[in-house]
Symmetry: C2
Amino acid sequence: MPYFDAASGAPLHPVARQALLASFDEGWADPARLYREGRRARMLLDAAREAAAEAVGCRPDELIFTSSGTRAVHTGIAGALAGRRRSGRHLIVSAVEHSSVLHSAEAHEADGGSVTQVAVDRGGAVDPAAYGDALRTDTALACLQSANHEVGTEQPVAAVAELCRESGVPLLVDAAQSLAWGPVAGDWSLLTASAHKWGGPSGVGLLAVRKGVRFAAQGPVDERESGRAPGFENIPAIVAAAASLRAVRAEAAEEAVRLRELTDQIRARVPRLVTDAEVVGDPVRRLPGVVTFSCLYVDGEALLHELDREGFSVSSGSSCTSSTLTPSHVLRAMGVLSEGNVRVSLPLGAAEEEVERFLEVLPRAVAAVREKLGAPASETVVREADVLVVDSLGKRCPIPVIELAKVIGDVPVGGLLRVLSDDEAARLDIPAWCEMRGQEYVGEEPADRGAAYLVRRVS
Amino acid sequence: MPYFDAASGAPLHPVARQALLASFDEGWADPARLYREGRRARMLLDAAREAAAEAVGCRPDELIFTSSGTRAVHTGIAGALAGRRRSGRHLIVSAVEHSSVLHSAEAHEADGGSVTQVAVDRGGAVDPAAYGDALRTDTALACLQSANHEVGTEQPVAAVAELCRESGVPLLVDAAQSLAWGPVAGDWSLLTASAHKWGGPSGVGLLAVRKGVRFAAQGPVDERESGRAPGFENIPAIVAAAASLRAVRAEAAEEAVRLRELTDQIRARVPRLVTDAEVVGDPVRRLPGVVTFSCLYVDGEALLHELDREGFSVSSGSSCTSSTLTPSHVLRAMGVLSEGNVRVSLPLGAAEEEVERFLEVLPRAVAAVREKLGAPASETVVREADVLVVDSLGKRCPIPVIELAKVIGDVPVGGLLRVLSDDEAARLDIPAWCEMRGQEYVGEEPADRGAAYLVRRVS
């Protein structure tokens, strides 16, 4: 049963399992204690810190373990902002950061700080120059992921770090998606990661803070983890995290080549196998195992269910699968189609035959969903002066786009079509459909309910 | 090799190990995902929550899992204080709470809130009436542990909860030390606990918040754990925590009787086996497996090393073992001797023969330490008017008390002895020595360095 959602969390690596079992016996005691069980726990913790620091590319005394990647991000951002409070309260993030970074930014804004979100291009990457333009004299901290978790695009971290360094602003790099593949290049100041992304156990995050970076841990702390992460250290999990990071690094170079070939296959063949599909994310500067595409006229949740029935576990940034009913903020920031979105993230060791079978199953799954959704929209079409109007109010993604596609042929070339929709995804998906179809997206107008999206038939 | 420090952390229970192994395979995926691995993880998480809630005595939707007991306390106190901010910013804690509670109180004070510490008696318990007197109209939250972690004394939680309820103030109970033995009686509002105290894995805390209690989670959160504990849930550890709690509860009644007999033996025999030893903590209302005593003229760290050499792992609240160089805040609040302090906390299944051997080894270990420290103090004694002066400046616990004891015989009955000391522990241990020896502690006077402690020879 192929699991293709490694970017969410990887199954436990065999080395991690082995290390956990061993350290349940040796590493359960309090490392602050003086007796032998405590000393053994302390030795294991110190050795794990050495190993993890080497993989991160920092000194052991610059690295602490937190209880998750999310916690590492929250702690890192809050501590760096507080440590540089006298410099100012401005925070920079990219528009496609992980939610833990964006939630930290929201909390900072709620607390009276200011935040700049740096836009990304259609491939999902920030432009270093644009990022540099966001730096201000009152900027306390800048954040940039090493690679995007939804589309796999690598960010120009080294170039941005250089600009930050010139401005004297620390850069925090969320390396959750890339640390398995290698250390983060460039002169970063803080770095965060999450063990269960590389096959380590849940419950372990990494936070590195370079010596010399001002840092003031927030909230109650204690004497553990340099006063930055309170509470009893989870040593068995930490040992397993460090051991498995070392293990995946040992096979990283070879495995990256192999997974890249497999995702290249998916990138090349999905648009040929599925009509009206768009592969998103940078084609070259990207993580080896991640590929993301969207399919017009498809409900993301229904597609996930079809694929799950066929045995494939993937995730989606479509609005129809999310509890918030809005499309993924990453796809929105990139300005690409969100409907029928699928992220395939291959785990280490993913088999070529499974990828082949996925490519065999996918067109059938998409076709099945499209067939179910293929409801005619003609009865909702009314002429209003010279403009054809499609009333999709109350209908969810991907219905508004399906209705648009069904009536565009009724519009004379050069004529206008107005789609009324109160679904958040339409704002993203109607312009994306126009781009894919070679029609002109004229713009959006306010309406009594939702918004009116104007499309001009070009061909 | 007997490990007698279960109150710090217990070795992994066999049931926890079994549950961990099983859920590494079944529970590693993201429970928010729609595919089968995610659904399985969700089912395991839901079942663990049901089981843990039953053991706590709350509804499953009142219980969240955090990454440690410390984190549960920090989250619970911060959330309850923020939720009741409009009622006021006054917080009540007992003087003998766990450091995680006291650190939260410090953070609250630093943020402009006010804190009342309720004193305890010589047995370590609060008086419910005195606790009730601390309640004010602007009290936002009250905190009381179910039982003390250093001396095992049980607190009158039900009576205090009743008083809090009458005043409309929520009571948070830190049940870290007692949850293995049974649910907390009384009408509490919030409850915290830590799995590794009962043989569950590290990395799991419990926070229960009764419906109707105002609560506003602080800092960045996400959609996980009711928006109260951000970050990927550590499901294998959570499953193991719930399974082992159920397992220890099944044997709790019987094991409590057995451990209580063993600690009764220690309580009764230590004062007979070791001269100048004082057993501290309530003799009746106490945890089954915890017993704490202090030995005059003994350096706590040296005693731990002697016992460790003999194979016994125990902990100490003496100042000489702590990085802060101050005695345990619990012993200080109780006003009992802190030097040569030893806490024995028996794990489930502790063998009677091991306790017997401990009682055999202890007198030798104490004697060995006393012999090493038995330096004469006579050359530091000078007569100053009518008062004998012992200059112990620059000397650490237990030397000042040893020097005091050596010269008291030189003082005529009714005469005064002045001990100069700059060691924090002297403030606690000189009055405690006087009480144990039937001498009169007159009081403390300021001095150029440290303080002068006045003792009158009575007999």
